[in-house]
């Protein structure tokens, strides 16, 4: 299985503040990576750089063979292959759940409406909210909204899925339903990079764990090693607080 994402010496600044310091990372196809770390450590910034919602100033990011930089002509094409799920769901409130799911396939991938709806219903079935397809986002619970957002991203049939703290804005009861959908997705072989504090999910799904602090990757290890014998003291401290 080949590399699908490669980051080489990536640096990013917000004005004077350095958000990412010398990030090196390789992600193979079908690999599942969970990134954890204290808030402000650059986890979200890192995955947002991968689909260029944030711009990096230094280093190389290569996604599926295309380098991402300000010279990238068709950043939209790359983004279409990289699905993203946000902390705040970011569903389009003026469209029904079904329209949320079919809009991008129809307009970006030029898919016929019938086929787009078929795919959308399949994906909504997959996250178990097919019966809510005609409703508007404002009429659903947080957990249902986040699963809709996941289905929406999947409708673009992405090669990679990014998750930016997908369960942080949810009630405890609803976290499980979203995580279950994500576990299903992982078992189906999707390449996933997940920023989350759900360590149970990480233990179940992740191939590799990354711990970040102050903009750099402090530790990267196989999931079992990461939890059983973390190497750096900073990781140990973090794990002792979160577990």
């Amino acid at each position: 299985m080949g590399k699908i994402i490669e980051l080489k010496n990536v640096n990013k600044w917000f004005d004077k503040f350095q958000a990412l310091k010398n990030i090196n990372l390789e992600v193979n196809q079908q690999e599942k990576i969970v990134i954890c770390g204290p808030s402000g450590s650059g986890k979200s910034t890192l995955i947002r750089c991968i689909n260029r919602l944030e711009e990096h100033q230094d280093g190389q990011i290569i996604v599926d063979g295309n380098e991402i930089s300000e010279n990238t002509k068709d950043i939209e094409k790359i983004r279409a292959e990289v699905g993203m799920v946000f902390q705040q769901f970011n569903l389009f409130p003026h469209l029904s759940i079904l329209d949320n799911c079919t809009l991008a396939p129809i307009w970006v991938k030029k898919m016929p409406k019938k086929k787009a709806e078929e795919i959308a219903m399949n994906n909504l079935e997959r996250v178990q909210i097919a019966d809510q397809a005609k409703k508007f986002p404002g009429q659903l619970s947080g957990g249902q909204q986040q699963r809709s957002a996941l289905a929406r991203a999947l409708c673009m049939e992405p090669k990679i899925m990014l998750f930016d703290e997908p369960t942080s804005a949810l009630d405890p009861e609803m976290i499980k339903e979203v995580l279950d959908s994500m576990v299903d997705l992982a078992k189906a072989g999707m390449t996933m990079i997940v920023v989350t504090h759900e360590m149970g999910f990480a233990k179940e799904v992740a191939d590799n764990m990354i711990f970040m602090d102050e903009g750099s990757i402090v530790e990267k290890a196989k999931t079992k090693d990461f939890f059983d014998n973390p190497k750096s003291d900073r990781t140990k401290l973090f794990l002792s607080q979160i577990l």
Partner: protein
């Protein structure tokens, strides 16, 4: 004095209510007698006290009947809605008194003393409104100086418009967009050609002779339809990342927002032709339309920008993450939401635009208010300003109120919030 229980209570309900009612009754009788019979019941009091007597009697009466949970439904309703405190009691009385005092004379002027019959100023008695003036001039108020024999063309153009708009409510959703395209792009040409003439055996009528209500509609409709997309692009331009586009949008908006419409219209009439090569002539109606459109577009841009700014950043990010480019993101995701948010502001701008149309008199175009202005200076009809302006005001109010109601309906229809 100390032994008398001043606070109205439930035990002596009947007593308090009867005494209170008598006080209120006296107050009203005093006012009615003074207003309609010109007879002052309280003349024996000092003049100032006498003037306020109805209010004083009424307030005392309302105080006496203010008994909570009296058990009488009617009394409770009055107390809760109109009489919950002394201040509210006084306000209630003032409003009722004002209605009694001012509504009858207004009605008299409008209807009972007004003159409807006849066709000259001499047919009016002068006690009430002289609606004969409106009746005689109605044709001019609607069609301006447009030749009588050709007025069917204006009627035909507007009837066609109403039929098309009416049809848009009934045709199936699929053909709706074709109808809309026809309405927006082809109908205006047909309508204008029909009214201006010059071809197809129709007599040419120069725009200087257009006028009245029909001109109000023509100017408003064109400016409304054109200023909206221009305003939208200006709003997007002002938020653009490209400095050239951003600064030219800002410059355009601030320039047009900073000058009064009346000077813009003067410029369009006087200055604009100077910039054109010799011999080219742009009709003054078109110049005015361009001026009003650009002027209102600047306001529209700021209204729409308000909506754009109200959208959370997440909506942009979600659209981008799905692979949408700038235009798809804006036309599919951002603008539909932003425009829905600012429907009240857009309606506001549209209403202001309709009410700004009378200003085109500065270039010699007379729409409804302009025609009224002209008619009142006719030697045979001097002194009819009041009737004319009231009529024009009413017509404008009807147009604007209809637009306002439509915008409210639209807001309700487009709402996807949790019910």
């Amino acid at each position: 004095m100390k032994n008398i229980p001043i606070k109205p209570n439930k035990e002596n309900l009947t007593t308090y209510v009867s005494i209170g009612s008598i006080f209120i009754f006296i107050g009203f009788i005093d006012l009615l007698a003074y207003t309609f019979l010109n007879f002052n019941l309280t003349e024996f009091l000092p003049s100032k006290l006498s003037f306020f007597a109805p209010l004083i009697f009424g307030t005392i009466g309302l105080y006496l009947i203010r008994i909570e949970f009296s058990g009488n439904k009617f009394l409770d309703k009055i107390n809760i809605n109109f009489n919950s405190s002394n201040f509210n009691a006084i306000l209630t009385l003032l409003v009722i008194f004002a209605l009694i005092k001012y509504i009858p004379p207004l009605l008299n002027w409008f209807i009972f003393d007004a003159d409807f019959a006849g066709n000259a100023k001499e047919d009016c008695t002068g006690e009430g409104a002289c609606w004969v003036f409106i009746k005689v001039w109605l044709n001019r108020f609607v069609y301006g100086m447009y030749p009588d024999a050709e007025q069917w063309r204006i009627n035909a153009a507007f009837i066609l418009l109403f039929l098309l708009v009416g049809a848009s409510f009934f045709v199936p959703a699929k053909s709706k967009k074709y109808l809309l395209v026809f309405l927006l792009f082809i109908y205006p040409i047909i309508g204008l050609k029909l009214i201006s003439g010059g071809d197809f055996g129709l007599e040419f009528v120069e725009t200087g002779r257009w006028g009245g209500l029909s001109l109000t509609f023509i100017v408003s409709a064109f400016a409304l339809i054109l200023c909206f997309p221009i305003g939208m692009f200006l709003a997007l331009g002002r938020r653009s990342n490209l400095p050239a586009i951003r600064y030219s949008s800002i410059g355009f908006i601030e320039l047009w927002r900073g000058v009064p419409l009346i000077t813009v219209l003067f410029m369009s009439a006087v200055m604009f032709p100077m910039f054109l090569p010799d011999g080219t002539y742009v009709d003054k109606l078109i110049r005015v339309l361009i001026a009003i459109t650009l002027f209102e577009a600047a306001y529209m841009a700021e209204v729409i920008r308000g909506g754009l700014q109200a959208l959370p950043k997440g909506q942009y990010e979600a659209a981008k993450s799905l692979g949408m480019g700038y235009w798809r993101m804006h036309f599919l995701i951002i603008l539909p939401q932003a425009l829905k948010l600012v429907i009240p502001g857009i309606a506001n701008t549209f209403l202001a635009l309709v009410k700004d149309t009378p200003l085109i008199f500065v270039v010699g175009l007379l729409e409804l208010a302009g025609m009224v202005n002209l008619a009142k200076t006719n030697p045979k009809w001097l002194g009819m300003a009041m009737e004319g302006y009231v009529f024009a005001g009413l017509v404008f109010w009807i147009i604007c109120y209809a637009m306002s109601r439509y915008s409210q309906n639209l807001e309700r229809k487009l709402s996807t919030e949790r019910q």
